[in-house]
Amino acid sequence: MNVPNAIPRVATGVVRRPPLPRASSSIVRHAILIAVGGVVAYPFYFMLSSSLKPFFEAIQVPPTIFPHELHPENYAEAWNKAPWARYFANTFLVASLITIGELVTAVLAAYAFARIGFKGKAILFTVLLATYMMPGEATLIPNYVMMSKPIPGQSAFFPILRLGLYDTYQAQILPFIASAVSIFLLRQQFLSVPNELHDAAVIDGAGHLRFLWSVVLPISVPALVTVAILSFYGSWNAFQWPLIITSNPDIRPVQVALNAFRAEAGTSYHLLMAAAAFVVAPIVLIYLVGQRYLVQGVARTGIRG
């Protein structure tokens, strides 16, 4: 069972080693990085500058590099064209509940795998690994059918379990409550908790729950934050599943709404860019604050998004 260890350990050395001494000329290096950085940054600049242009300037050929007239009211116009507040609230609700749920299930399962000896551990771990390897494509159609209402006159459990959750918040949340990756990641962290702490806690008469709550979790905060940020980030940007599983705009998340807005905006590209900007903004903020955790999470799990 080398494999499970391997997953979270793919690259544990994030930013731990001191950087290398300079190897190439500083000017050349900066020149390359600035050139590539310019290409990387251009779409963002383009989005922001276009979002501030009036309609006819926005579609002008060649495009103006800097807006001749600044129209920040484009943002208000784009915001008022659709119930964005509702969409943001939906996404926030769904992403938060997924994050909380994922943390709870992962903490408990990871603790069991890391710190309790029990019968059938190897088998259950293999099952976990199998679910990790199962790509979402395998489950897209059946999950969709599972969310459907029971067909009248047929069993709701057999041959296919039918939950009747199409077009609900639950349908957007429940499939993502448990994630093998998060369990692996936290298990790795929990394994690193020194045994002496456990022994001391047992002498104090603490059971598993108390040990987990008062010892393991407090020293695992960085790992928990990493899991939380990864989970939140993934749910915030989720698109395909909510696209197919929702039809009621009242529960629609922002990404699906932005996709719908592309049709609504028609040729009003300046408004589309404004909408794209405010849809991207929250996750960029979270990223700027929690960059370290996000990057570490990506490096450790190899989730490509």
Partner: protein, 439 residues
């Protein structure tokens, strides 16, 4: 056994916190179903594809008016589900999910697919209901082709949908651009038209086009319109094979091939032809419902018209509305909304706000609509006058796939990947296969 009880437990848990969507109990349809009364407040959901204003706003306005004035406690909720393709996908998905809306905006070919799952209500009983139906005068007033196109030969000639957002495939002409390039007479043949397109094209010294005469579209309906206007047919009479692959279809493709190869035509992105038409483009084929967008995209007003292409025939299109099987109350409420929507004043009012066509002949006598046409939308009248020479598209199952096949055929010709002869032959084979599979 343990697994099963876990599933059961979870299912119950989920059911306990779910249940926000209304349960649609299927019901058999007694003949008297259409003659009921609305007995209490009913809320019905309408899915549609009017993604942007003014159409979206016009529908919302009409729905609001109906909700306020119907006096029976019926509340309609209009929900956009994206463009027509997305609406179609959503509705197909909702059939699988068992969560259909009460009524949905749909093209005829969509309805043909939905009916496969036996979820569409036969509207004949409602139209003919003594109590809630249409009187004879109304039946005669609504354009007959609008009824015909919603009768499905494949399904016992039942009326499975009702005219809703009707429009036409028409040719938009920018007279100023034509005049500036020496075209004064409206072309009456396709050969003349092709010449006009060439004349309206401008190229620089290097031979690069700086102004195109025609903005091509890859949408199947306009190809169909061109075929019809050349005197061709879209489907064989038995609905088993396509008929557009004959001489008229080939002529159309060859003409497009010449225009693209010569640098006279291009395929615009998304809605950009709207901007181009306002400034430098002579011809474009689009729906009559594009009028407001074209007008809005004009920096300075230009002289423009809409009408049938040379040959004087075109495709009648625009979508209809289908009612899905639910409860007798909801079905009746849906029908009452549809009926209200088609009443003379309402359809006329709709025409002034949405730029769609009124469904009744008598709407042309509506003073508000007449005044509006004269003052604000002369092209609306031109479009209206074209209804009589329009022909509906096929309403058979599989047509949706065939539309994609036609689009691919056009793209492969206009991008030079295939000769018109090869492309049309290939497309015909594929389309006939689709029709065979969909039987």
């Amino acid at each position: 056994m343990r697994k099963l009880s876990v599933i059961a437990a979870i299912a119950m848990l989920i059911a306990a916190c779910g249940g926000s969507t209304p349960v649609a109990a299927p019901t058999a349809a007694p003949t008297t179903e259409a003659d009921l009364d609305i007995t209490g407040p009913v809320t019905i959901t309408l899915w549609h594809a009017l993604t942007s204003d003014p159409q979206k706003g016009a529908l919302e306005g009409a729905v609001k008016k109906f909700n306020e004035t119907n006096g029976k406690g019926i509340t309609v909720q209009a929900v956009v589900q994206g463009n027509y393709t997305q609406l179609y996908q959503k509705t197909l998905g909702a059939i699988t999910a068992g969560s259909l809306p009460d009524l949905a905006h749909a093209y005829e070919s969509f309805v043909a697919d939905y009916t496969k799952a036996d979820v569409v209500v036969d509207l004949d009983q409602y139209v003919n209901s003594k109590k809630n139906g249409l009187d004879q005068a109304s039946k005669d007033d609504i354009y007959k082709p609008y009824f015909d196109t919603n009768r499905f030969a494949q399904y016992g000639n039942k009326l499975l949908s009702f005219p809703f957002t009707k429009s036409l495939a028409v040719m938009y002409t920018n007279l100023d651009v034509l005049k500036a390039n020496g075209v004064t007479a409206a072309p009456t043949t396709w050969a003349d038209w092709e010449k006009a397109v060439q004349q309206a094209t401008k190229k620089d010294a290097g031979g690069k086009t700086t102004q195109y005469g025609y903005a091509g579209t890859t949408d199947a309906s306009y190809f169909n319109a061109m075929v019809l206007s050349r005197g061709g047919k879209i489907m064989a009479d038995d609905n088993k094979t396509v008929a557009w692959a004959g001489k008229e279809g080939l002529d159309t493709l060859q003409m497009l091939d010449r225009l693209y190869k010569g640098g006279y035509a291009y395929t615009p992105t998304n809605f950009d032809w709207q901007n181009d038409f306002g400034t430098k483009l002579a011809y474009v084929f689009q729906s009559t419902s594009s009028r407001p967008f074209i007008a809005a995209a004009m920096k300075t007003p230009v002289n423009w018209t809409v009408g049938a292409p040379p040959g004087g025939k075109t495709v009648m299109f625009g979508a209809n509305v289908a009612v899905f099987k639910s409860t007798p109350q909801k079905q009746l409420a849906s029908w009452l909304f549809i009926k209200w929507f088609s009443e003379q004043d309402n359809t006329a009012d709709w025409a002034t706000k949405s730029y769609y066509m009124p469904v009744r002949k008598s709407a042309a006598n509506n003073e508000a609509l007449k005044a509006y046409w004269t003052a604000k939308d002369p092209q609306g009248k031109q479009a209206y006058d074209t209804i009589g020479i329009s022909i509906p598209e096929p309403n058979v199952r599989g047509q949706q796939d065939i539309r994609d096949i036609i689009t691919n055929m056009i793209v492969s010709v206009t991008t030079g990947k295939a000769t018109p002869e090869a492309a049309i032959k290939d497309a015909e084979t594929k389309a006939n296969q689709v029709l065979k599979d969909a039987q």
